[in-house]
Amino acid sequence: MRQLLEGSRAVAEAVRLCRPQVIAAYPITPQTHIIEHLAQFVADGELSARLINAESEFGAASVVLGAVAGGTRAFTASASQGLLLMTEVLYNIAGLRLPLVMVCANRAVGAPINIFSDHQDSMSVRDAGWVQLYVESNQEAVDTIIQAYRIAEACELPVMVCMDGFFLTHTFEPVAIPEQAAVDEFLPPFQFARALDPARPMTLGGGSEPDNYLEYRAGHHQAMEQAGEVVAAMDTEFSGQFGRGGYGGLVEPYCLEGAETVMVTLGSTMGAVRDVVDRLRADGMAVGALRLRCFRPFPAQVITQQLASAARIVVLEKAISAGAGGIVAGELRAALYQAGMSAPVDGVIGGLGGRDLTPAVIEAIFRRAAAGNASAACRFADLNADAVPSTQES
C-alpha cells in the first residue's frame, strides 16, 4: 500500500526492513532525519539494532567497518564534508571488500559552506571502490536500499545509495513500503565467510608489499566491473518479486527512440527532464534522456549502446572537477571514444549548491544542445556571469 511519507522516513523504513544489526552515524544536514527515524525505531523496539552515535563521521565509518568485519549487517549515512571526513575509512571498507550499505544524502561541499544539494560529495569519493547508485525518487531510494544489500553481499563490495538532499530527503511523496516477509524472502540473513571470529583467529587488513598490492587493486577493479551485472540483475529480480520498479538496472532511458539530442543526467533532476522531454516532443523536437543510475562501476558499454543513434549528447551534472570540468561528461567522452563514436558532447554543470534546475533551465539546455553548433567542453547552466568573482583587477 502506498503512503505519503517524507523521503528520510521512507529510507529509514527500508533500512529497518533490511534488519541491520549495527547503525553508526554522526549527524549532518540533510542526512539527519534518516538516522533520527532509525533511532526512534530502535527506541520503540521496532528494530533490534545497536545504534551508536559516533564522535565523528570518521568514527561512525570505523564502527560499521568493524561491525561488517565481525559478520553483522550494518548501515550508516552521511553527506557533504561528513562523507569527506569518512574518506580514509571508505577506502578501507572497499579495499577490505566489506559488504556495507550507506546512504549519501547528496549535499554541496564547502567552501563556501552550503547545506543544499549537489553531487560533489559522492563524486569526490568515486575512486574509493564503492558501487554508487543514484536514485530519482523516494520509491527508488526505498527499493534500491533493499537491492543494495543483495548487491553488496553478493559482490563483497560496499554500496553507496546516493539521493539528493532536500529534493528527496525532505520531500513527502507517495511511497510503497514492502512487507517484512517479502523483504526477508528477497534478502536472506547476512552470511559472511570471512567474518572475524575469535574461534578462528585471522588477520583482516594486513599489510601489503609492492609485489602484491597491485594485484589487490586489480582484483578490486575486476570485482567492480563484474558488479555491474549484479546491479542490473538485482533490479530485474526485485521488480519481478515486488511488482514495481525496474529502474533500468544500470541506466534508465526515456524516449530514446528516434532521439537526435539526448540529455544524460543523474538523480532527482531526471523528473523535470522527463516533463521537459514530453513537452519538447509535443513540439516536434527529437529529444530524449538517459539517466545514469549506476555511476560506479561506470557502465560504459550500456551507455554507448543506448546512445548509439544519438547525433548530439548533452550531459547535465551537479558536480565539477575544478580545472577539468564535468566528471560524468569526461567519462562519457572517454567511453564514446573507446567505442569509436564521435557524437559531440555538450558538458553542462548546473544545480550546484541547491540551485533549482527548473524546467525552463532544462529546456534552454536542450534547445542550445539541439541547435548543434555550440557543443562546449564545460559550461554552466543558469549562471549569473556578472556575479562570478574575479581575481583580476578590473
Binding site: H170, T171, G245
Partner: protein
C-alpha cells in the same frame, strides 16, 4: 517506472505555496494538505523551501496535487494559491510572486489589505490567529487556514483533512485533536458564506 504520458490540461494540477514564519508550522500545514489530497485519491507532494530553520524567520513550503504521477522535484514558482500565515509577510516578502492571475490568496488577517480589490486575484481573509486562540488557546492558525483553503478552492475534502489531522496529532491526545478539528471547521465556516456571496 512512471506512466510515460504528458500532463494533459484537463487533469487536476494544483500548486500551493505556504508562507509563514519559523515556528508557525508552515511545513506541517503543507504536509497535512498533501496527506489529505492523497487520502482523497490524488497524487501529492509536499516539501519545505530548503533552508536553515530559525524561529520567526520567513519560510515557504510547497504542495503539488495532481491526478497524474508527480515527477518533478522543483520548487513551486507559479502557484494556483498561496496561504499566508502571517500578514506582516505581505510587506516584507514577495508572497504574491508568480501567483496565477486568478489565483487564490488565503490570508490570516483581521481585514483585507487596502488594494485587494484591484486585481482578479481571489482574496480569502480569515482571522485565523484569533480563531485559533479561542479554540486552541494558542496562536496556531494552521488548521483554520486549511479549512479556509478547502472551503474556497474545493481542492481537498473536509473529511480527508479531519482524518489526517486526527492521525497527525493523535500523540498529543484527544483534546488537542478535537480542538484542531473544531478549528478546521471554523476556518471552513468562516469562508463558506464569503463563497456564497461571491457566487
Amino acid at each position: 517506472m512512471y506512466e510515460e504520458k504528458g500532463n494533459a490540461a484537463n487533469n487536476v494540477q494544483h500548486e500551493i505555496r505556504f508562507h509563514g514564519r519559523g515556528g508557525q508550522g508552515a511545513v506541517s500545514a503543507a504536509a497535512l494538505l498533501a496527506l489529505a489530497a492523497f487520502e482523497d485519491g490524488f497524487e501529492a507532494q509536499a516539501f519545505p523551501r530548503f533552508g536553515s530553520e530559525r524561529r520567526g524567520a520567513p519560510l515557504e513550503a510547497y504542495v503539488r496535487i495532481s491526478s497524474l504521477p508527480i515527477r518533478a522535484h522543483n520548487q513551486v514558482y507559479s502557484p494556483d494559491a498561496v496561504v499566508i500565515q502571517d500578514s506582516t509577510l505581505l510587506h516584507s516578502e514577495p508572497v504574491l510572486q508568480g501567483l496565477k492571475a486568478d489565483g487564490w490568496i488565503i490570508l490570516n488577517s483581521e481585514q483585507p489589505p487596502a488594494d485587494s480589490a484591484a486585481t482578479a486575484l481571489r482574496w480569502i481573509v480569515v482571522p485565523a490567529t484569533r480563531i485559533s486562540e479561542q479554540l486552541l488557546g494558542r496562536p496556531l492558525p494552521n488548521t483554520v487556514l486549511l479549512g479556509a483553503l478547502a472551503a474556497a478552492t474545493g481542492w481537498v475534502g473536509l473529511k480527508a483533512l479531519e482524518q489526517v489531522i486526527a492521525s497527525h496529532l493523535s500523540s498529543k491526545g484527544e483534546k488537542v485533536v478535537k480542538a484542531n478539528i473544531e478549528a478546521l471547521h471554523a476556518g471552513y465556516q468562516a469562508v463558506a458564506p464569503q463563497q456564497e456571496q461571491a457566487s
